[in-house]
């Protein structure tokens, strides 16, 4: 009966079945199935597709966040970066470029630079990541006062519009973008030396340094990536809402952290995978959608939301002991 467990393939299958990412996927599937029976319209293809599209935004923000968290840091400026991206893009639309690509690239360059500045503060000034990125978020608020509402014209960017609304082959463009980003992220995380360095830095920065890991440049890269993916999320969310506004990024700070942790990545760094973050993000939007359709007072809805997260957390497992 248990013979298959002894084979190499069987063992590998077992490891996968027992892994956190798989568990999270299983939970998402479970919630979807349960919800489609209890809540009308929940399980329809269109709805699930919409949920995944929403999760794409969280997933993009959480991609950078996963890098940062695995490397032993945290990025509290992602929400502000998403907003900056969504609000500044219309300001940058050139008439000269009919595709709108230039503006998007310019905005991504801006947000990546913001991330790199975070990295500089953490790596060179040795400011605690939480303080550095919180301060960055504060700066960006100041910046937003200056730039927000600065454009009296709604700049239509074709690329952004396409990202937010198109459905090539029935799949939302945002989801396609997320898939592409996920592939790159997973490859960078688990199949390159760069990825291996992240895990080492997160688990024991001192030992990583003494083993020759270029900690400063890797830190820089990690926060740069976080700035980039947050910027990308900003572009997507702008497309989905047609109009950027101040506060558009606000929901994504806690959501990105929650997706990372629900996916089994240790908030202390050094352990985890983006493969868990992906279902983590879907799980979050699923619960939010579920709560929305429940007819209850705001207080009860909030309690239900918290209890669901807590309950699922109980299912999806415990933190590994360390030290």
């Amino acid at each position: 009966m248990t013979a298959w467990k002894e084979t190499v393939g069987g063992r590998r299958a077992l490891t996968i079945l027992r892994s956190r990412p798989f568990l999270t996927v299983a939970i998402v599937a479970g919630v979807w199935i349960a919800a489609s029976f209890t809540s009308r319209g929940f399980g329809s293809y269109g709805h699930l597709r919409y949920l995944v599209e929403l999760a794409a935004v969280i997933g993009l923000v959480a991609a950078g966040q996963t890098f940062v968290v695995i490397a032993g840091g945290i990025d509290l400026s992602v929400a502000a970066i998403v907003t900056v991206s969504a609000v500044s893009l219309p300001l940058l639309s050139w008439q000269a470029d009919p595709t709108g690509l230039t503006a998007v690239l310019a905005v991504l360059a801006l947000t990546t630079t913001i991330g790199l500045v975070n990295g500089l503060g953490v790596a060179l000034l040795r400011v605690h990541p939480m303080i550095m990125t919180l301060a960055m978020a504060t700066f960006l608020q100041g910046l937003l006062i200056i730039i927000a509402g600065g454009s009296a014209v709604t700049a239509e960017n074709p690329l952004v519009r396409w990202l937010g609304n198109a459905r090539p082959a029935g799949i939302p463009a945002g989801v396609l973008l997320w898939v592409a980003v996920s592939v790159i992220v997973l490859a960078a995380m688990h199949a390159t030396s760069f990825g291996a360095r992240l895990f080492a830095m997160g688990a024991n920065p001192l030992a990583a340094t003494l083993s020759g890991v270029p900690v400063a440049s890797t830190t820089l890269a990690v926060y740069g990536i976080s700035g980039f993916t947050s910027g990308l999320a900003g572009v997507l969310v702008l497309g989905m809402n047609g109009q950027g506004y101040v506060g558009i990024g606000d929901p994504y700070l806690l959501a990105s952290i929650a997706a990372v942790v629900l996916g089994g990545t240790s908030i202390l760094g050094g352990l985890g995978t983006y493969a868990g973050t992906i279902p983590g993000a879907i799980l979050l939007v699923t619960i939010t959608a579920l709560i929305t359709v429940v007819n209850a007072s705001p207080g009860w809805r909030s309690i239900l939301f918290g209890s669901l997260i807590l309950g699922l957390l109980l299912l999806s497992g415990r933190e590994q002991a360390r030290r």
């Binding site: 400011v127 301060a135 608020q141 929650a258 918290g306 997260i309 109980l314 415990r318």
Partner: protein, 321 residues
């Protein structure tokens, strides 16, 4: 064995230990002092009784939540439910104190809620070994929801005399803070106290040394809960009413204050005095920037720079040495 006169030793350990704990926060203390002096210079009224009273009142709740966060971070935990707990404390105070329970009953309800929810959170985190950050994130929704059930919109009331006592022109907030710091000192001297550090930094070693690691951590959550709802009670007294979302901003601010004060994430790093100094800096900053006449944009930029500077400059000096 060595011949030591015990009376000569009295205080010869405690104070040096305390002094060494200052080492890590000296830079921050200097920054905070500079801000205090600047504040006093910009607003001489600070040195009057009522000026001082008002100033400590605006700092007090932040100081409490900074302590609440710091005590958790010392054990290697963290809470994202700080703000919701403050709100809950405030609405409980505002709905009970003018009712049949009275002030004493209301205060008891606030205390029990804080300790109870704190201990329950601690139990879930410690005994079920779930990551504190998500447990408390979930907790923040549950607790915030409860606050909304108790008081769906701002309202309620606190007896006028209590408001005047705690947040009138009296230095009550300051006296309370001194009292709480003394209590903290006492707590550190109990068997559970220093265990916080050991349980946070080196739980395995602490366990092998006979330290009640789990107990120390759960107790920390309970105390943290109490500090939060206590802060809520104070906010209710200060505002004379309850508001189910009044505490929201305290979550991030408490973390900022604690980290600014040198409390580390991995547990066992930092001191409570640092966290208090961090909260004082955050609070002072707001008033000082006001008196310097900063525009909102300048406020945001300066706030970011001050926070980074307060951490980076002492760091930088350490590296230079």
């Amino acid at each position: 064995m060595s011949v030591v006169d015990p009376s000569r030793q009295a205080g010869a350990l405690y104070w040096p230990v305390q002094l060494r704990r200052n080492v890590g926060v000296r830079g921050l203390f200097a920054v905070v002092m500079a801000f205090l002096v600047a504040y006093g210079f910009l607003f001489p009224g600070l040195l009057t009784a009522s000026g001082f009273a008002k100033f400590t009142q605006s700092w007090f709740p932040l100081a409490l939540v900074a302590m609440a966060q710091a005590i958790l971070m010392l054990t290697g935990g963290i809470s994202l439910a700080i703000g919701a707990m403050v709100s809950l404390g405030a609405v409980i105070a505002a709905t009970t104190m003018t009712g049949p329970l009275g002030v004493a009953g209301g205060a008891a309800a606030v205390t029990l809620t804080g300790v109870g929810i704190g201990a329950a959170t601690g139990f879930i985190v410690v005994k079920l070994r779930l990551p504190a950050i998500v447990v408390t994130l979930a907790g923040s929704f549950i607790i915030g929801g409860a606050a909304l059930l108790i008081l769906p919109r701002p309202g309620g009331a606190i007896p006028e005399w209590l408001s005047d006592l705690l947040a009138g022109n009296t230095p009550a907030a300051f006296v309370l803070l001194v009292l709480i710091v003394l209590l903290w000192k006492l707590y550190l001297a109990t068997p559970l106290g220093l265990s916080l550090y050991a349980a946070g930094e080196n739980p395995v070693g602490a366990y092998r040394s006979g330290v009640p690691v789990d107990g120390a951590r759960i107790a920390a959550y309970a105390i943290s809960g109490l500090l939060c709802t206590g802060a809520g009670l104070f906010v209710a007294a200060q505002t004379g009413s309850g508001d189910p979302v009044i505490g929201t901003a305290f979550t991030l601010n408490s973390i900022a204050a604690a980290v600014l004060g040198g409390i580390g994430f991995l547990g066992g790093q930092g001191t409570m005095r640092g966290a208090l100094a961090g909260s004082l800096l955050l609070s002072l900053m707001i008033s000082v920037m006001f008196f310097l006449g900063f525009t909102p944009v300048a406020q945001y930029v300066a706030q970011g720079l001050i926070i980074i500077g307060a951490v980076a400059i002492p760091q930088f000096r350490k590296v230079q040495q």
